[in-house]
Point group: C2
Chain length 151, copies 2
């Protein structure tokens, strides 16, 4: 077995054992070394955003002291959900290796596949524009600020 996936599985196993959440563990690797690790803690932390990938990104960013994980690879026991895929893109991670796929994850009772299949019409029903002009003014204030750090 791949040594990094083995570590991702160990992360997931510890989470299952302690009943912290789903069977999802993750490690992040740079230059052949693990720089971050984490597992699903949704139940333990009572926070739906605490997926293995999010926890590992948090851990790697703290270790490397940056929000930019360019040059890193991510190993995860399950194909990332839409939230984690977005986090991976924001983190500039180079490549993702996953064990089980989205269909496998659906078969053990999770909603990832439904989220990926959500139609534009369904999305539109769940959101509405409000006070755009006031928010555009806010965006302009940000644009006018000097010395911003891009991410």
């Amino acid at each position: 077995m791949n040594e990094f996936m083995e570590q991702a599985i160990k992360e997931a196993q510890s989470g299952i054992q302690d009943r912290e959440g789903g069977p999802f563990g993750c490690v992040i690797v740079k230059d052949g070394k693990i720089v971050g690790r984490g597992h699903n803690e949704v139940v333990k932390r009572k926070d739906p955003t605490c997926h293995g990938e999010i926890m590992a990104i948090h851990d790697a960013c703290a270790a490397l002291d940056t929000f930019d994980l360019s040059g890193c690879e991510l190993y995860t026991t399950g194909e990332p959900c839409p939230m984690c895929w977005g986090a991976i893109l924001w983190a500039n991670i180079d490549h993702v290796y996953y064990g089980c796929n989205i269909q496998d994850t659906e078969e053990i009772g999770f909603r990832d596949q439904k989220m990926y299949n959500q139609s534009d019409a369904d999305k539109k029903q769940l959101k509405s524009e409000l006070d755009r002009d006031a928010c555009l003014k806010l965006y302009q204030d940000y644009l006018n600020q000097n010395g911003k750090i891009a991410y």
Copy 2:
């Protein structure tokens, strides 16, 4: 102006003032009361996952002592990115009110639109299946566990 969007803007303004990240603030409302709030802290915390919506979901879950924000509405200064949209779905939030739209956000230099437009082919190039059998064994161990809490 809507009173809750006004508070989301105030969150964003405090983040801009302290140079903590982008111009994105968020509040979460249940039964007409704010139960969580947050703003983008990507630069301050050096963590790409610290968007306003994620911070507010974290805050509301702590306040309500649950990972399930059913019955809540979310007010945010910018239309949610794919990561935050996923977080909103996992949190079971009822409805999202946003100020600026994704195109507005692109115009001030952010990548949300590119992420939404990412093709399946582009996604596939960034990820690979690895050691699926070992991970399926892990999923089975989870399935066999009694007394799990679903989320």
